[in-house]
């Protein structure tokens, strides 16, 4: 992160609490990149892996995770230079929200080093530090996993919706009627979704689309019936649909059972990031990764366990058209270190 002698890690750690100066963005999105459908006419999903992501230790190496992110992004956008994809994705003046997931606590939340890497590349693409907002629903949950509150000028912003609030009015679609985070509606005009790859005891899996539950005031209302059609309906809300540019799924550590809370016995190190602009294709692909791990561990399929992620096909149906769940129309590109 270009910050006058400050390392990426130090940069976020030095963020200090101050008066909230997050700027109201209020701009309509300018879709700078539409790489979702590749040259083959299929939705592209890139899975980048690095078996040595942690070196000989247990923590993710920040240099290798930046490299992993670069490979994923360059592959997805067919770019030669690490900054190039980001320049296709955002433009100076954008206010970019990084919607992370911190519900699972330290063991199973969006990786801090990965988010630092994204912030670094966004700034290299011309986004000012203070125009990047790392956010989730709860500031304390974020703090517990290493995303420390930051609202100071000239720093990347890091804050939960609990400190900013929800819109008073309801946004509605289908079965969803919810108040949206003001970080989404008022303070950002671009959203990059940075979820994690994990099992969910009700929904089957929670990856890209379900991470939007952290955007609304009443996620508990959206859990019946395996979250179907709530996940799909929620992702149809204009404020979400129009601002969502990209999903960068953190699959460095994932979970195949017992989610969404962290249970170490069911977590594994996939050491991957998964990138797509089609959230349905990404969720379908992530689901298959979890199923393979479950099979390896001699567990039932999610279907046999009574919790198939039906919402994925709902999101692809004629009423929603949020992407495709047809494997014949998904181009999975795997890149390795």
């Amino acid at each position: 992160m270009n910050h006058s002698g400050t390392s990426r890690r130090d940069f976020l750690k030095k963020c200090v609490t101050g008066a909230a100066v997050l700027r109201a963005a209020g701009k309509m999105p300018l879709l700078a990149a539409t790489e979702q459908v590749g040259a083959t006419g299929k939705s592209r999903v890139v899975i980048a892996r690095d078996a040595m992501l942690r070196g000989n230790g247990t923590a993710v190496d920040s240099g290798r995770v930046l490299s992993l992110l670069d490979r994923a992004m360059q592959s997805f956008f067919n770019a030669d230079h690490p900054t190039e994809p980001w320049k296709k994705l955002v433009r100076p003046g954008d206010t970019v929200g990084l919607k992370i997931n911190t519900l699972g606590g330290r063991g199973l939340s969006t990786n801090v080093q990965l988010v630092e890497a994204i912030c670094e590349r966004l700034q290299e693409a011309g986004i000012k530090a203070q125009d990047i907002i790392i956010w989730d629903r709860d500031t304390d949950e974020m703090d517990r996993v290493g995303f420390h509150t930051s609202t100071a000028d000239n720093h990347v912003q890091c804050i939960g919706t609990d400190r900013v609030g929800y819109e008073d009015d309801l946004a509605t679609y289908g079965k969803v009627g919810s108040r949206l985070s003001k970080i989404l509606t008022q303070r950002t005009n671009v959203m990059i979704n940075v979820p994690i790859l994990k099992d969910h005891d009700g929904a089957g899996v929670t990856i890209a689309m379900k991470n939007m539950y952290g955007v609304i005031h009443n996620p508990n209302r959206c859990h019946p019936n395996g979250c179907d059609p709530y996940v799909a309906d929620l992702n149809m809300l204009p404020a979400i649909k129009t601002k969502m540019r990209l999903t960068i799924c953190d699959a460095t550590t994932a979970c195949y059972e017992g989610g969404p809370g962290f249970k170490p016995q069911y977590a594994w190190q996939e050491n991957a990031v998964i990138v797509s602009q089609d959230p349905v294709a990404l969720d379908y692909t992530g689901w298959q990764i979890i199923e393979r791990k479950r099979a390896e561990k001699k567990l039932k399929t999610l279907e046999a366990a009574g919790r198939p992620p039906r919402y994925i096909s709902t999101a692809a149906d004629a009423q929603h058209r949020l992407g495709t769940n047809d494997p014949r129309r998904i181009e999975v590109v795997e890149v390795s270190a």
Binding site: T172, D201, H217, N220, P224, G258, G261, K263
Partner: protein, 407 residues
């Protein structure tokens, strides 16, 4: 969930207690009731005074600065499962909840395999209301009820009037710390012979309701609950067993309506009504009539027949007027003739006490003796204007009128 009452929402003056908006017309009340009402009215604190009472204990109007730990108690009705999951046994929804997650109600959370209520003593709305506003028409008419709510509900009625407290998580609304002893004390100081658990859905704050009822009873204060009745039998017997009277919102008489409009089920609510009857609890029923959705003759007739057959002819049934709110803003206010049609059908089925609500000044707000047909309790809006019942009987013909008429 409370009935759709447009006259005064739960969130008016939230976090304080509003003085009721009308003066009891004491001149026509009997002497005993008059004195009680006069004392009660005189004892009502101003909103400021009462707000001061509530904030005497550390509290915060800022939802983000609330100390969650002071509101968190272990839930009473749940079952532990493998992998730190729990199954909630409070309401028929029976949410299976993973670690760190909440149930559908949004006010109960799994911490490491144990389920906790997050709303004990976490009051987000408190008012002094006439008991007629609940509405309870056969229970201490002309008196005041110290009425309170926490955030949360276990259904999601599309017409909810109080959705901004019922459909949110507790940390999303300002709240004050009001432990049971304070509630009992405030009720007493405000001349309220009852504490009413209302506005949101008391099922979801059962632990608090039980403790507040115990504190109230020790201080000589009764408890009444305004509920959707969507609760499991054991929890019903344990929690509402501590109540002195119950008002149940029966949202419709069809499962499809419950599924589509309420996000609940009809049968468990009917079971609740039958159980309350067996428990001997004074119960009144409200049916919010929503144009085109639950206003057919067949449904009114089916409802009235079921009430008569299973609960008896003396259970008061209130047909109340719908006003567009929340997710049902596309429908009109219920026409008064529709309400009158509902009443006529229920009368014809043989129910003795059928009321029309939310229509101030309508003659069907009054209680009539089922034998001589004369007015025995006259009401205007949510206020008792004249209470003529003597020793539980009609003063004109001696017919017994069921209910609790005097403290």
């Amino acid at each position: 969930m409370n009935a759709n009452l447009p006259a005064a929402s739960a969130t008016e003056g939230r976090s304080s207690v509003l003085q009721h908006g009308h003066t009891l017309l004491a001149s026509a009340l009997d002497r005993r009731s008059f004195l009680k009402c006069a004392l009660a009215s005189g004892a009502v604190l101003s909103a400021c005074d009462l707000a001061r009472s509530l904030v005497a204990i550390p509290s915060s109007a800022d939802p983000q600065k609330q100390d969650d730990s002071q509101f968190t108690v272990e839930a009473k009705f749940f079952q532990k499962l493998e992998n730190k999951k729990i199954k909630c046994k409070l309401c028929p929804r029976e949410c299976t909840v993973g670690d760190k997650e909440r149930g559908y109600c949004g006010v109960r959370e799994n911490h490491g395999g144990t389920y906790y209520s997050l709303v004990h003593s976490r009051v987000c709305a408190a008012h002094v209301d006439p008991i007629e506003k609940k509405p309870l028409f056969h229970y201490l008419p002309g008196t005041l009820a110290f009425s309170l709510a926490t955030a949360g509900c276990n259904v999601n009625c599309k017409f909810c009037q109080n959705w901004d407290i019922s459909q949110v998580r507790p940390e999303q609304v300002p709240a004050q710390y009001a432990p049971p002893s304070l509630v009992a004390d405030l009720a007493k100081r405000n001349g309220c012979p009852t504490i009413a658990y209302t506005y949101s859905e008391p099922v979801v704050f059962s632990e608090y309701l039980m403790d507040a009822a115990d504190a109230g009873h020790q201080a000589g204060i009764r408890s009444v609950v305004v509920s959707n009745g969507y609760i499991q039998e054991e929890a019903l017997k344990t929690a509402y067993g501590k109540m002195d009277a119950v008002k149940i919102d029966l949202k419709a008489f069809s499962e499809s309506y419950y599924k589509d409009v309420v996000a609940g089920e009809l049968k468990p609510v009917l079971d609740t009504l039958v159980t309350l009857r067996k428990m001997g609890k004074w119960t009144e029923i409200v049916y919010l009539v929503v144009p085109t959705l639950n206003d057919s003759d067949a449904e009114f007739r089916g409802l009235a027949h079921w009430v008569k057959t299973n609960l008896g002819s003396d259970v008061p049934l209130h047909f109340t007027q719908f006003h567009p709110e929340y997710l049902l803003k596309n429908l009109p206010i219920t026409p008064v003739p529709t309400l009158e049609r509902a009443k006529a059908i229920a009368d014809a089925e043989g129910l003795h006490y059928v009321y029309i609500g939310n229509v101030p000044g309508h003659p069907a707000e009054n209680t009539y003796c089922p034998k001589c047909r004369r007015i025995v309790v006259e009401r205007v809006g949510m206020m008792a204007k004249q209470m003529l019942i003597r020793k539980g009987s009609c003063p004109f013909c001696g017919q017994q009128i069921p209910g609790l008429w005097h403290a």
